[in-house]
């Protein structure tokens, strides 16, 4: 009666033929093979089948299977990249051109304003006392520069009405402190450190010897914008600059993908 060979033995025989058994497994199987003829017969049959399969020639491809751009949809993708590159390049160039126009416009408008100020209204000593402040070291060069701009003029003009009453009827310090809530209506934000440095106390005197009041000229600038005001024009310039750079970078990336 023929002995049935277990599946695990067939598995071991198959792996033995391929040299895929561990040392211990191989030793165990070789011992079994010495004892059992049915296993030896099965091993030979498997060996022959394996050899038969391995002698089969490799079937060669009947044609070339190389891919074309159409096959992989590369043409479509390339067209999309070309379009994106062209569009981004156009946006970048347009942004740069517009930025230049805006710069030129800004330059000429600032020059015109400066010339207008220089020629039209030579500042009287009492009207625009910037030079006086500068001499005392109260006003820095930046402030002086600001004063010649539109914002600076507005700022100085805004300070003048508050200064007048103080000069007409000088008040003592206690009176000033009583009037303080009314004078500062609506309540203003606390002065910045920079402005504090510029107007430390009432001890700062004008050239003609009159003390500067608390509700006087030095309080008003605290309500104005900082030195580098973000006007709509500046914001637009920054936006254009960022747009030009971003679109140029993206255009370069698409160009590299096209290579």
């Amino acid at each position: 009666m023929k002995k049935v060979i277990a599946e695990r033995d067939i598995e071991a025989l198959s792996a033995y033929l391929d040299g895929e058994l561990s040392e211990a497994e191989r030793y165990k199987l070789e011992t079994l093979l010495k004892e059992r003829s049915d296993l030896r017969q099965e091993l030979h049959a498997l060996q022959h089948t394996r050899a038969l399969l391995r002698t089969q020639p490799r079937i060669r491809a009947p044609r070339r299977f190389t891919l074309t751009a159409e096959m992989v949809g590369k043409k479509k993708q390339e067209r999309a990249y070309v379009f994106a590159f062209s569009a981004l390049r156009a946006v970048s160039l347009a942004s740069v051109a517009l930025l230049l126009v805006v710069f030129v416009y800004g330059f000429f408008s600032t020059s015109a304003l400066t010339r207008g100020m220089m020629s039209a209204a030579p500042a009287e000593e009492g009207e625009y006392p910037v030079a006086k402040f500068a001499e005392k070291g109260v006003v820095t060069e930046e402030v002086q520069a600001l004063m010649v701009t539109e914002e600076g003029i507005n700022l100085v003009e805004a300070t003048m009405p508050a200064e007048k009453p103080l000069q007409e009827t000088p008040l003592s310090t206690p009176e000033l402190s009583l009037m303080q809530p009314a004078a500062t209506e609506p309540p203003t934000p606390s002065p910045t450190e920079e402005m504090k440095a510029l107007a430390p106390t009432e001890e700062v005197l004008l050239q003609d010897g009159e003390p500067m009041g608390v509700g006087g000229g030095m309080e008003q600038p605290q309500r104005t914008s900082p030195m580098f005001a973000f006007t709509p024009l500046v914001i637009f310039q920054v936006f254009l600059g960022l747009l030009a750079v971003a679109s140029a970078v993206m255009a370069v990336l698409f160009k590299r993908k096209l290579r």
């Binding site: 067939i10 198959s14 017969q41 491809a61 009947p62």
Partner: protein, 202 residues
């Protein structure tokens, strides 16, 4: 051929580089497809689709054996096609000669140096082997093709078939045993050299 450089270039979208890989591996992929499907035209379709899929999936290739990676794709393609056929059985599309007999061994298998008798014997054997492969379940068929016809080791076969090493080992053993039994039934059709010298084995 600098395979790594070609793969890297192809990953960046270089179709020329990928086509050089195609030319290098197309025989292997086609061989796998043909043995799995048993039909030339289906094998061609599977091979072409394999390379298209491989090109699109190349970015997901993370090193290792490129050969195993390709064979895994083609094997999965064949599984899909075989499953589809099981769901939608159709009339076989084997090429036929003027006498309406199936022609399974394509003419490109012929070797001009061998005699007609030898060529006939070899074709009989190839036909028997292909028929026996066809009778195996697809998962067993894939493993025996990968190891015995493609010459892969167990580790590579595990990668290419997507099965654990132990599963590959047991599937291969069972597939070989099945092939052995199947070829015994074809013994009379096999060339004389196999019938006489391997008596008792087959």
């Amino acid at each position: 051929m600098d395979e790594a450089a070609l793969i890297l270039a192809a990953q960046r979208g270089d179709l020329e580089a990928f086509n050089r890989l195609v030319l290098f591996y197309q025989d292997m992929v086609y061989h796998q497809a043909y043995r799995m499907m048993g039909e030339a035209h289906t094998a061609e379709d599977a091979t072409q689709e394999t390379f298209i899929v491989a090109f699109h999936k190349l970015r997901s290739y993370r090193g290792g054996s490129f050969r195993s990676w390709l064979l895994r794709i083609v094997t999965n393609k064949c599984y899909d096609e075989l499953r589809r056929r099981r769901r939608q059985p159709s009339v076989p599309l084997e090429p036929r000669n003027p006498e309406e007999e199936e022609v399974e061994a394509p003419n490109w298998l012929a070797d001009g140096r061998e005699s007609p008798e030898m060529a006939a014997e070899r074709m009989e054997l190839a036909r028997a082997i292909q028929e026996c492969l066809k009778r195996l379940p697809p998962e067993f068929r894939a493993v025996v093709i990968l190891v015995d016809l493609q010459g892969m080791d167990y580790q590579e076969a595990a990668q290419a078939s997507g099965a654990p090493l132990g599963t590959v080992k047991s599937r291969l053993a069972r597939a070989r045993a099945s092939m052995q039994r199947c070829l015994q039934s074809f013994r009379e059709l096999l060339p004389g050299v196999y019938r006489l010298s391997k008596e008792g084995s087959l």
